[in-house]
């Protein structure tokens, strides 16, 4: 325990480097190693800097030291200026406390205007910049880079969207469009006053990887990494490499020898001095996080220090029920059959039955059974041409271009194919001379009775036996069958949600050899990225915990989708470098101990107060996630769809950040409604923040209702980035319902 603490402290001391967000990459001279307590930026005098300690949602007041805010409002040619009275917006901005410079620009993203902004920063000693123009989704990087070049921390920039959120959507109402733009700009200024410089937080990542499982996928991953100079610890629980392939002979669809494939890969593993192979070994314990795992394996006293981990633990056959399996020894699973066949055994006449334990309410297509089964059936016909082979199946799943030739070959082998209905599996009974398989063939109609000496059940699969244990050690999830769950099934198939752990091959889901090898290499590439860079870093929008009020409930650690919060003696500690800044921990914390940099309760609170300063009863305060929901808002803009000018959008990174206190404050200030806008299910850019938001809103409605607030005015809308029309419809409906 003591050792662990010391190590934790070491990370804190070395783990934080000051830089400035992503843009810092590639230009590292400016970064500095800093201790945690030391937060100020080196460039900016930060007169407004405050502690990151949580503060109650107090009405926004100017910080003790005056800010020097510069506001730049864009005409976007006539895109904004034709609708919004830009000079009036500029004048209004100029009157706001802290604003020392306000200016209109025809195209503020043009190269000449960007240098104008930089000059203003330097000459007027601006310490905060507000730009009011198009959308942060496309233009924020440009302006961040600009202020950074002028010597300002990029997190001291606030982006206000008046084109997409006003001029493009309120085209026919110049006064209202101007009013909306003024409000949005003032909300931006209110937040800007409270902005703090943020640092890009890094932790170092070394060049040592652990690969669990020595099947083809694990071997491919290990070799891929080792060839890039990574030290690999490869752990295999059995006494040999090769996994499932050890039981197989010829592989479909290209009739490749399984043995040869394994021995080729094995040679590469054993011939590479970077790989330390541990056979008949299990992983006993894993502690830590990316760049700093301590892994204990059986038979080794000292733990290994590991930077990244790849799970390549493959799959196992399920145990079939029914079909006289277990009762009659000549009824066997495909893998059992393959192993026996490899010894030269003559199985006699064989009946294959497809999709056993698969394609039912519990699990799907096993993905390899048809190919493997047909291969085995063909092998019987090749080895023993006199034997009859009956192949019973409900569905044949052979897909892709690779199998076309294989299908032809199978056809030539003279198998007797019988297709049974999904809900009418064949029966297997003992007959006089052996076994009888009976089924109705839906292709020809009648009932078929097929006598066989051996019955092969093409059985479905499950993840490795140790999946439950590994799942706990790696802090990842798996499905009911013990197959590990990737971060995103389409766009992050080989990553776990938490950084530094990856998965591949049949440990993910059943698949053929080729894909297993591909995934092994792919997982190696994913793991290589942080190891080659030498660090992982977060972009500055991260969580900060003040333990002062903490009751050690551990809720924050539980809700974090990225395992970025560690509990040390029950006290939460954020590993900021792997925090993605979704803010769900902050919203969850019952004691308000957690703040998210750039989206603090205080900053958002200031926006709420500002939005509702005038005519609150006419205004809908919308907390909108940066991704799909803002995408839909932007799309409504691009489409020039008109909607009522009542909404004031406050951007958060994820709907999961939305705190009950903000909603309460907006209702207390008599907002017409509060709208929480997030990504449409099941998409969420932070795994499941929207699901958490949905639940939290339900709770909010109950609890705020009890406090006598009009909880029926709390609404949600879940949008895809293509849901511009739905957003517009929602705004129209709300305005009508609330009679705005």
């Amino acid at each position: 325990m003591a050792g662990q603490k010391a190590q934790g402290a070491g990370r804190k001391a070395q783990g934080k480097e000051q830089g400035a967000g992503r843009e810092a990459r590639g230009n590292e001279e400016g970064t500095r190693v800093k201790g945690r307590g030391d937060a100020g930026p080196s460039q900016s005098p930060a007169p407004c800097a405050s502690s990151l300690a949580p503060s109650p949602l107090a009405p926004c007041t100017l910080r003790p030291a005056p800010c020097r805010i510069g506001v730049f409002v864009c005409d976007c040619g006539s895109n904004i200026a034709a609708t919004v009275d830009v000079p009036a917006v500029v004048e209004d901005a100029r009157k706001q406390a802290g604003v020392v410079h306000a200016e209109e620009g025809k195209w503020i993203c043009s190269v000449d205007f960007l240098s104008r902004i930089q000059n203003a920063v330097k000459e007027q000693k601006l310490d905060r910049v507000v730009v009011a123009c198009c959308t942060p989704r496309t233009h924020e990087p440009t302006f961040k880079a600009t202020v950074k070049e002028a010597g300002l921390n990029p997190f001291l920039l606030e982006f206000v969207s008046i084109r997409e959120q006003s001029s493009w959507v309120h085209k026919f109402d110049r006064p209202e469009a101007t009013r909306v733009a003024k409000d949005l700009v003032k909300m931006g200024i209110a937040k800007a006053r409270l902005l703090e410089p943020a640092e890009c937080v890094r932790i170092p990542v070394g060049k040592e990887a652990l690969v669990i499982g020595g099947g083809v996928s694990g071997m491919s991953a290990a070799v891929g990494l080792a060839e890039q100079g990574i030290k690999v610890v490869l752990v295999e629980k059995t006494d040999r490499l090769g996994g499932l392939l050890n039981g197989l002979d010829m592989l479909a669809p290209h009739t490749h020898s399984a043995e040869k494939l394994v021995s080729d890969l094995e040679q590469k593993v054993k011939g590479n001095p970077q790989i330390r192979l541990f056979l008949s070994t299990q992983v006993e314990d894993i502690k830590g996080y990316v760049g700093n795992y301590k892994v204990r394996i059986s038979g080794q006293a000292e733990p290994f220090t590991i930077s990244t981990i790849i799970a390549a633990t493959g799959m196992e056959e399920l145990r079939p029920s029914g079909f006289n399996y277990g009762a009659v020894p000549t009824v066997m699973t495909l893998l059992e059959f393959e192993r026996k066949l490899k010894t030269g055994w003559n199985p006699g006449d064989v009946a294959f039955i497809g999709c056993v334990e698969s394609r039912n309410e519990k699990r799907g297509c096993c993905n390899v059974g048809c190919m493997a089964g047909l291969q085995a059936a063909s092998a019987v016909r090749t080895g023993f041409p006199q034997n009859k082979v009956g192949y019973f199946y409900p569905e044949i799943s052979l897909e892709g271009t690779g199998v076309a030739a294989f299908e032809d070959a199978v056809r030539r082998h003279g198998l007797k194919l019988f297709r049974f209905a999904d809900d009418a599996y064949p029966t297997v009974e003992k007959g006089a001379a052996g076994l009888i398989v009976t089924a109705r063939d839906i292709l020809s109609g009648p009932e078929v009775r097929f006598p066989a000496n051996t019955v092969v059940l093409i059985t479905g699969y499950k993840g490795t036996e140790e999946a439950p244990k590994l799942k706990g050690l790696l802090k990842v999830s798996s499905d009911n069958d013990g197959f590990f769950q990737e971060a995103h099934i389409k766009l992050r198939p080989l990553d776990f949600a938490a950084e530094g752990v990856y998965l591949c091959g049949c440990a993910r889901s059943p698949k053929d050899v080729r894909t297993s090898i591909e995934e092994g290499m792919g997982a190696a590439m994913r793991a290589l990225i942080p190891m080659n860079k030498g660090h992982v870093e977060s972009e500055g929008i991260v969580s900060v915990i003040d333990l002062g009020n903490c009751s050690k409930c551990g809720l924050c650690a539980k809700v974090c989708p990225y395992n970025a919060i560690e509990l040390v003696d029950k006290a939460p500690d954020v590993i900021q470098a792997i925090c993605k800044g979704c803010g769900t921990c902050a919203a969850e914390c019952p004691k308000d101990c957690i703040q998210i940099i750039h989206f603090t309760d205080e900053q958002i609170g200031a926006q709420v107060e500002e939005a509702l300063k005038e005519d609150p009863g006419q205004k809908i305060v919308a907390f909108c996630c940066h991704w799909c929901a803002l995408g839909a808002v932007d799309m409504a803009g691009v489409n020039r769809s008109e909607y009522p000018p009542n909404v004031r959008i406050i951007r958060v990174m994820c709907s999961g950040r939305v705190d009950a206190a903000w909603v309460r404050r907006a209702l207390e200030l008599k907002a017409a409604a509060v709208l929480i806008m997030g990504c449409e299910f099941p998409t969420c850019h932070y795994i499941d923040g929207n699901y958490k938001a949905e639940k939290r809103v339900e709770r909010m409605i109950k609890s705020l209702g009890k406090k006598g607030l009009p909880a029926d005015r709390i609404r949600t809308v879940w949008l895809s980035a293509a849901d511009g029309p739905k957003f517009v419809a929602t705004m129209k409906a709300l305005a009508e319902e609330l009679e705005l």
């Binding site: 590639g26 976007c76 040619g77 895109n79 195209w107 993203c109 496309t138 990087p141 891929g224 890039q228 592989l251 290209h254 494939l261 080729d264 699990r363 799907g364 297509c365 993905n367 569905e395 044949i396 799943s397 052979l398 897909e399 892709g400 271009t401 690779g402 199998v403 076309a404 839906i442 292709l443 109609g445 995103h488 099934i489 389409k490 766009l491 198939p493 080989l494 080729r514 894909t515 591909e518 995934e519 290499m521 792919g522 997982a523 590439m525 994913r526 290589l528 080659n532 860079k533 991704w627 995408g631 691009v638 990504c679 099941p682 998409t683 895809s720 980035a721 293509a722 849901d723 029309p725």
Partner: protein, 445 residues
């Protein structure tokens, strides 16, 4: 490194390589990256909205310092061998300056000519002669239809129809409304006189990610091209897409009315004698997805999928199929024989053999969707020729050894991933992209 093709596969390769620390050229011959996925509505097996999950990656490409993004660009010629390829790229003019265009659309507003969008034409997609490929396009830059120059669109009312000067000779157009509108905005981004640009680069390895095309069936069979309400799955996808030409209102092309009965015929293009000789593997899930979405739009829609073998091969696919069944989608093992149209109602009657029941049945529907497969892109053949890469018997880029050395082409240092190597779904494209990135940095086999 050079990555050819900016679909999900190429984007993933570029991001992997850039994050690893390798400089990348990402080349696409269309005006925006995104590929097929940018045109889809939702994506199986979870029904994530396609552009929602893809657009952030597209912006990331734009943001990454070590990615040079070249759209509207073709690979003309490749010389040398690994690890030193000399590649000649040709950037075709888009007639709009990428660095000056603000994406404001004033040029399109001014343009007098509206034409049918090639991709969405049959279902009502329209665009101006100067347009943006789709709202989330990267780069977010308009593009002038090549056909508009030299007065070629005069008959359609194009504003430069009467000009006698060759556009490439002129710098100060006063006639073209797009040029004038843009100039009035102060951006001066529309340049009808833009010329093609030749870019020579030297790279260590090349990744081909030129993707797939959706098969276009011949006119006639199943009434495709003859009956208005017969669509391909790609067209139906565009029809459903909230960001598509119909803003997600599923409507019958013949009368714009809401359909109550929709059927899908699977494996179109694989009939005896038809050109597709393999299973494209995604079409079963595409139909499943489309039927679920149709049901979500309107639970009372009768959705029927006529199939032979249902391919639910990938992770989560079977659960997805069961979800469709729970929504009441009917899966019928059927062999379609013929399709008729009622000339008055424009409804379609499908005659098919029900395999489970063993008899011939008829089904009347409002929309018939032909589930066509994925075929090699015509532009893939072109690039294969330029790079001297052999194709397999179906026209996809051939791999040297599909089991032991997947993703390696016959030429050392040139790799393939995604749809360019064969039919594939998004998830597999992304996995392959990661694997191929490792190949590209290790440079060999």
């Amino acid at each position: 490194m050079l990555v050819v093709g900016g679909g999900i596969a190429g984007i993933s390769v570029a991001l992997n390589l850039a994050e690893y620390g390798a400089p990348v050229y990402l080349v696409d011959d269309t005006p925006s990256i995104g590929g097929l996925m940018a045109r889809l509505d939702k994506t199986f097996p979870t029904n994530d909205c396609s552009i929602c999950i893809q657009a952030p990656m597209m912006y990331e490409v734009k943001k990454k310092q070590n990615i040079t993004l070249l759209t509207n660009t073709e690979v003309r010629r490749v010389e040398g061998s690994a690890p030193d390829f000399k590649v000649r790229l040709v950037q075709k003019p888009r007639f709009v300056d990428e660095s000056k265009c603000k994406g404001c659309g004033k040029c399109a507003e001014a343009c007098p000519v509206t034409v049918q969008d090639e991709l969405d034409g049959r279902i009502g997609g329209k665009r101006k002669l100067v347009s943006i490929p789709f709202p989330q396009a990267v780069p977010n830059t308009y593009v002038v239809d090549n056909a508009c120059r030299f007065g070629k669109k005069r008959a359609d009312g194009a504003c430069i129809g009467s000009c006698v000067v060759d556009c490439s000779q002129c710098r100060e157009c006063q006639i073209a409304k797009c040029v004038v509108a843009c100039r009035k905005e102060g951006a001066e981004a529309v340049l009808l006189w833009q010329k093609e640009r030749i870019i020579d680069v030297r790279v260590r390895s090349i990744v081909i990610a030129t993707g797939v095309d959706s098969y276009r069936p011949p006119e006639g069979p199943y009434g495709y091209g003859v009956f208005q309400n017969v669509l391909t799955n790609y067209q139906f996808e565009r029809l459903m897409n909230a960001g598509g030409p119909m803003v997600g209102n599923i409507a019958r092309p013949s009368d714009g009315k809401h359909p109550h009965r929709i059927a899908w015929i699977q494996c179109v293009g694989r009939e005896a004698g038809a050109p597709v000789k393999y299973c494209s593997k995604v079409c079963c899930m595409i139909a499943t997805k489309q039927s679920i979405i149709a049901k979500e739009h309107d639970p009372s829609v009768d959705a029927v999928i006529l199939y032979n073998n249902l391919k639910a091969y990938g992770k989560g696919f079977y659960t997805f199929f069961r979800r469709a069944q729970e929504h009441g989608v009917r899966y019928v093992k059927g062999r379609p024989a013929d399709v008729f149209e009622n000339p008055e109602t424009k409804a379609l009657t499908i005659v098919f053999e029900d395999l489970d029941k063993g008899k011939v049945e008829e089904l009347e529907v409002d929309i018939l969707v032909l589930s066509t497969g994925l075929v090699p892109g015509t532009r893939t053949a072109k690039i294969a020729k330029a790079l001297k890469l052999p194709l397999d018997e179906h026209g996809f880029i051939k791999e040297k050894d599909p089991i032991c050395k997947p993703l390696e082409t016959a030429v050392k240092g040139i790799y393939v991933c995604g749809g360019a190597g064969g039919p594939i779904d998004i998830s597999e494209s992304v996995s392959q992209a990661a694997a191929v990135s490792l190949k590209a940095i290790s440079g060999g086999d």
